[in-house]
């Protein structure tokens, strides 16, 4: 059984936000107005967080692309009263929109703040509507949504592999963010499979995980920038 995870090299990330754009486009994440965004109602399943170190003018800035951490011990699933969010056998934390009642307990329980509530129904212009990804549902008002590691891509990749009568390969399943990253800062694969890049990358001495002390055991690893 695979255990899907991600390793992000902060030395390679330039903060270009291509991953953010690719994610929104891939997963039908609607844009909200500037007013709503100011009120914290914008959804961005993948968000590039800027971290500034030092005092001006001696500052350095690092970018932390932040998707859902797909924790092995996710705090969000413990509080969900209807089991709308759960962790599957391959370690992907799913969100079943049809089951979600919109109580937002999970959004509050998540220390990474990667769960987004749909305050309003998504609004699309006519041209945008034609570009919606048919493999991903358009979430209704009043449900929580989040990064799924592009689970629909796994479904398709697995189906392709089965149709061709072969095993699933590492390159078959890559989420949109990893796919578009121009500097290859985002590596994705099966953390338990020695032939996948992430397996050796997660053993790098530079590795760090966000808020690891909380015991959430995130499956998104970062490679600390070199001094």
């Amino acid at each position: 059984m695979a255990r899907w995870g991600m390793v992000i090299d902060l030395d390679r990330c330039t903060g270009c936000a291509a991953c953010e754009v690719a994610c929104k486009s891939e997963n039908n994440v609607a844009a909200v107005s500037a007013d709503q965004a100011d009120m914290g109602r914008a959804s961005s399943w993948m968000k590039v967080m800027a971290h500034v170190e030092g005092e001006f003018p001696d500052t350095t800035m690092h970018f932390y692309p932040r998707p859902c951490m797909h924790c092995d011990n996710p705090p969000c699933i413990r509080v969900c009263p209807v089991q709308a969010t759960y962790i599957d056998d391959e370690g992907i934390v799913g969100q079943i929109y049809a089951r979600c009642i919109g109580c937002r307990y999970c959004a509050n329980a998540c220390p990474y703040m990667v769960k987004y509530f749909n305050w309003y129904g998504p609004e699309w212009s006519e041209s945008e509507r034609q570009h919606l990804n048919p493999d991903v549902s358009v979430r209704p008002t009043g449900v929580i949504e989040k990064c799924t590691f592009c689970h629909h891509r796994l479904q398709k990749a697995r189906e392709d592999a089965r149709a061709d009568g072969r095993e699933l390969r590492e390159e078959d399943y890559q989420p949109a963010c990893a796919d578009v990253c121009p500097t290859n800062a985002i590596a994705f694969g099966d953390l338990d499979n020695p032939s996948h890049a992430v397996h050796s990358l997660k053993a790098d001495p530079r590795v760090l995980r966000l808020m690891e002390d909380l015991g959430t055991q995130p499956k998104v690893y970062y490679l600390r920038p070199r001094e």
């Binding site: 799913g94 929109y97 049809a98 549902s137 799924t148 479904q155």
Partner: protein, 179 residues
């Protein structure tokens, strides 16, 4: 005498009360039935599945061309029908009408009869192409119908899918079918 008339008056009032109650109940049931009924699906021509499958021996893939390859099985259109119906086939009035419609350039847009909720991830390729399920498993006796059914022949809901998945030892993971 007076007492009997009063009694009869009371009886009539009660009787009318029952009638009123009955009418209200009937109206309620009718309204509920109308609100919950699956909408009927209109089709451009009265397609006879039995004629094409059982009598002419065409397989489903002949018209539903993507059934083993894609998520959607695909519906036939004017191009598909033209392959045979450019000239009138058989003696039925409907077949003659198809030829006329095609000559007029009608696109013959058929409508989907079986629909899944938008949050369901389903592919025909996986079920028909890879697992080699019979079409009738989910679509019932659609191949034997002589007129387009107004409503789906089988109610495909989550229990329907889950029962089969349990029987066949297939995945019961939420992510596998919900997108």
């Amino acid at each position: 005498m007076q007492g009997t008339a009063a009694k009869r008056g009371g009886f009539v009032r009660v009787w009318w009360g029952y009638v009123g109650l009955g009418l209200m109940l009937t109206a309620g049931i009718v309204i509920a039935a109308v609100l919950t009924a699956t909408p009927t699906v209109p089709q451009p021509v009265a397609f006879n599945h039995r004629k094409h499958t059982e009598e002419l021996g065409l397989n489903c893939e002949f018209c539903h061309v993507y059934v083993t390859k894609r998520a959607h099985a695909g519906l036939p259109n004017a191009q598909t029908c033209t392959m045979c119906h450019q000239a009138t086939q058989g003696t039925s009035a409907e077949a003659a009408r198809v030829t006329t419609l095609l000559a007029e350039g009608d696109p013959l847009t058929f409508n989907k009869l079986f629909r899944l909720e938008s949050h369901v991830f389903y592919t025909h390729r996986r079920h028909v192409g890879i697992a080699e399920l019979e079409c009738a498993t989910c679509h019932g006796a659609i191949a034997a119908t002589e007129r387009p059914p107004a409503r789906p022949l089988v109610r495909i809901d989550m229990d329907f899918c889950m029962d089969c998945h349990r029987e066949q030892g297939q995945t019961l993971d939420c992510n596998a079918c919900h997108r």
